[in-house]
Symmetry: C2
Subunit: 149 residues, 2 copies
């Protein structure tokens, strides 16, 4: 599978979030070509503020590997991570982060902060942005347009 | 109870983390003078990178109140929150954050970032630092000194 195939799967997960009334963001963690953990944003449905897709995917991957260091794992996520999730990516020492759409208002990778390129922190993952960017961005736009109706 | 009484309780929780081999950080969430949730750092013992004291306290408080908005709640924590936890505090809309020791290497409230005073983010809690600072700081110092032996 190629990056855009993993991102297509993350988009399917994002759709599940939208179906439950949550902002559509999907994430997965890949190790040695295998999908280790999948998640989608469940903040509204679980009523827990930290239940973003990335947080749940990281937690599930760590439980599966029985270790908190995810140095051999890659995170795919449909939207640029926020500060909380970028901080969790540093904590988890993820090898790389691949995302789709930018988040100009709250993105902490390139938009309002550049946390994952900060030399003062003890980990800097590889970064790839813009994978299936248009599809990821359109799913979010449609969700908010629908909600305004 | 006064702020330093809540912080003394957070220090007791921090000691439990140390007893399990985790960096001693304790946290609690208070609402209307009542302790709603307690937690300590369980990153090493649970082997989950996101299981900092603050994250667990926020999650437990949200589950208890059955809502993710913690606008009427105050977080007490023995150490200045990191980026992940500061991001979670914004997500949870906590009313105030009271902490003990500064974290010059990773603190995201006043040390390396000032996330909770950032006008671009959609929430800024009240901030109080230095409550039982010396006790909080000494517990951490002793833990690391012990570990180096």
């Amino acid at each position: 599978m190629e990056p855009k195939d993993y991102m297509a799967r993350a988009l399917e997960l994002a759709q599940r979030a939208a179906d439950c009334g949550d902002v559509p963001v999907g994430a997965l963690i890949v190790r040695n070509g295998e999908i280790l953990a999948e998640a989608y944003n469940e903040k509204e449905s679980l009523k827990v503020p930290s239940c973003h897709a990335e947080m749940l995917a990281i937690e599930r991957a760590a439980l599966k590997l029985d270790r908190w260091r995810l140095i051999d794992c890659d995170l795919y996520v449909t939207l640029e991570p926020c500060l909380m999730c970028a901080g969790a990516i540093v904590q988890a020492r993820l090898r790389s982060v691949i995302y789709g759409a930018k988040d100009p208002k709250a993105g902490a990778v390139e938009s309002i902060y550049q946390v994952l390129s900060d030399g003062r922190l003890n980990h800097r993952p590889l970064l790839v942005s813009g994978v299936l960017e248009q599809e990821c961005s359109e799913m979010l736009k449609n969700f908010f347009a629908e909600r305004r109706k």
